[in-house]
């Protein structure tokens, strides 16, 4: 990292300290933790865009599937639900996969022609009806088990940290499917395919109640760090609160937040170290060669599509990891809260602002943009109050303008993205 990079990171640190001193330490820690997670997501997107020039507009889907992993790994299993329809649901899933595989076999084995198309359709239709005959009743039975608090299969009841790599694995698997279909074609086809898959992942999370409880949310997921409520009773914490002169409750949440920060920093550090190693390795050089001139890389005998697929899976897996970390920090999976502007396009702003093609840049972008995202809203309200100060109190226009101040941040982000793209396309910390 250059002196400029160090300077910018130091500045960001100072700003966060300023938030702590001026606003509150809890807020500063919350921003810090979410910034760390955002930085990891930005790192994942940077792998795809910065290393390979791949345009992934489905970050939201990959983070959400990572979040699902947390539920499936860490939540305790629900034995009644398993008894009611667990086997049926699993069998249904297997049947679904089997019918798709059968269709693939038909496609590969039969000669090209109308017969092949008909046979494929027949296999798929038959597979659909067999699958839904098994799957439908089983999932209904599961969702009927104690629907107010359960109504799903639950997870494996394993330690929550284990869910993080599993989340990465899930996201990587989905990425493999998408990449297999859309890589090697026009570059914007990948964009549209990822846009689609991210909407589908959210639809599945919202609708497949037997798996994720859908819009009823899964709450109270095990956390990797002691909860503030449990910390408050510790005597050392009470002593600490007394020395600092803070309330016990506030101290507990700050200490707990710092625990997460340490954990996340560890993961982020490991990822940066790995990506930097990859960047300077022969593999990294190859990726940049492919990115900068696909034709000549092909001429050198590189299989561009395969390399793209690999880096696409890697980047998406990192996004999945971040998604899993986020859910385990919040302690809940809320499928209704995933929206593309926040989870896909904001991450893109981070990468572009920070500096695509530079890992430190992407991380810095994560910090800066998340900070702006949080702080622009109060700033927007302040601005609107100033702008409407001359208007009569209670007028419709004034109320409307004040009420819509929160949308200022979308505008701000868009303007920031456009300005960076135009005047500093290499970002805050440019690629070396």
């Amino acid at each position: 990292m250059t002196a400029r990079g160090f300077g910018l990171f130091a500045l960001m640190g100072l700003v966060l300290l300023g938030v702590g001193a001026l606003q509150s330490w809890q807020l500063a820690i919350t921003i810090l933790n979410m910034s760390l997670i955002s930085a990891i997501m930005a790192l994942g997107v940077n792998m795809q865009w910065g290393y390979a020039g791949l345009f992934n507009v489905g970050v939201m889907g990959f983070t959400a599937i990572g979040g699902l992993a947390v539920v499936l790994v860490a939540q305790p299993p629900v034995p009644e639900a398993w008894a009611a329809g667990g086997m049926g649901a699993l069998l249904g899933l297997l049947l679904g996969v089997a019918s798709i595989l059968a269709a693939v076999v038909v496609y590969k084995r039969l000669p090209k022609g109308r017969l092949r198309a008909l046979a494929m359709v027949a296999v798929l239709v038959a597979g659909y009806f067999i699958t839904s005959a098994v799957f439908g009743p089983a999932t209904q039975a599961i969702e009927a088990v104690n629907p107010a608090s359960e109504g799903y299969l639950g997870g494996l009841g394993l330690p929550v940290v284990l869910a993080w790599p599993v989340g990465a694995l899930f996201a990587g698997g989905v990425a493999w499917m998408v990449g297999k279909v859309s890589l090697g074609l026009r570059s914007d086809y990948l964009a549209i395919a990822t846009l689609g898959i991210s909407e589908i992942v959210i639809a599945v999370l919202k609708f497949e109640g037997w798996m994720s409880r859908g819009v009823n949310n899964v709450t109270g997921i095990d956390r990797p760090v002691v909860r503030p409520v449990d910390l408050q009773t510790e005597s050392w914490l009470q002593a600490l609160a007394e020395t600092l002169g803070w309330e016990v409750q506030q101290t507990a949440s700050v200490v707990s937040g710092l625990g997460y920060a340490a954990l996340f920093t560890l993961v982020l550090g490991l990822l940066i170290w790995l990506s930097e190693r990859a960047w300077t390795s022969p593999w990294g050089r190859m990726m940049r060669a492919i990115r900068d001139n696909e034709v000549s890389a092909r001429a050198m005998g590189k299989d561009v599509t395969q390399r793209h697929l690999a880096v696409f899976i890697l980047g998406s897996a990192v996004c999945g990891l971040a998604g899993a970390m986020m859910v385990s920090m919040d302690g809940q999976l809320t499928p209704g809260s995933y929206e593309p502007l926040r989870y896909t396009f904001l991450i893109w702003v981070m990468v572009i602002v920070g500096g695509s093609g530079n890992n430190w840049g992407a991380v810095l972008g994560g910090f800066v943009v998340w900070f702006l995202w949080v702080q622009v809203e109060p700033a927007g309200r302040w601005f609107m109050e100033l702008a409407t100060a001359g208007m009569a109190d209670g007028s419709d226009l004034k109320d409307h303008l004040l009420g819509s101040a929160s949308y200022m941040r979308l505008l701000t982000m868009g303007v920031a993205l456009l300005l960076m793209l135009r005047f500093a396309p290499r970002g805050l910390i440019p690629e070396r």
């Binding site: 345009f55 914007d188 396009f345 505008l411």
Partner: protein, 336 residues
Amino acid sequence: MEFLNALVTLSNFMLVPALAYGSQLALGALGITLIYSILRFAHFAHGDTMALGTAAVIGGTFFLQGQGIGIAPLPTALLAVPFGVLVMVGYLLAADRLVYRYYRRVRAKPMIFVMASLGVMFVTNGITRLFMGVGETRFEDGERFVFSVREFRAFTGLAEGLALRNAQAITIVTALIVMIVLFWFLTRTRAGKSMRAYSDNEDLALLSGINPERVVTITWVITAILLVLAGTLYGLDKGFRAFNYFQLLLPMFAAAILGGLGSPIGAIVGAYVVAFAEMGVTFAWRRVAGYLLPEGFEPSGMVQLLPVDYKFAVTFMILVIVLLFRPTGIFKGRVL
């Protein structure tokens, strides 16, 4: 009788809504395909600019309603469409001058254009929400039905009824007119021919004295007309919610790709295929099947292939199938 009843209930719940939805998608997909063939990038801000255009129309509608001006039985919104078009022509041309033109000049990669359109999307999104918020706004007025279920039943004496909502009829008719005018424009007028020439071969078009900036300007103007109409018709039909317009992006792109990116006729065909597939797969066939199947074979379930929440999955499957088996689309659009 049984067959007629089946046909009527199918029309009422699937065919007519799908036709209207397909027409709305077609107008949107035409815009995407035009921008793609002239400016050569995937316009991600399309859904959100559609929302902003509709917001302008809604503003105009409310103003006209306040003045007591209307064209009942037609919705007032139709009267406000020219205003919306004017606003959007201004907006899109401003976006072009401020954002895209620079990248054209430096001959940036297509992906940079897409990224820039992402920025425009954010800004547009913010502006729309600033005016409209995130809730639903209904702005349909005038007569609601061309004919209602009860009228249809009384007229035909069938057990099942068919309703044609005003919004649906207007959508289908307008889309048809717009398509005819657009094709006339592209094939018969000088400006349209220069657009096609530019899309086909940029260098040859430049050589024969076609002014590229003029072609680009015309493209944005046509896009503005198309997207304001598409947005307004969609809003009349289903109510205005900014987020729904963003979500239209996927079916519109799927339609354009399915038809063949850069092919206007492809965009229209693609849009109807997507609309009918989406509706057909998420439609509960129970009543139709009940009429058609012999006595005693009536289905017990809903006979719905997929729940409505998965309509994106249908679009996505269409997209995947196209990408796997025919990446150039039905009408051989361009592919890398």
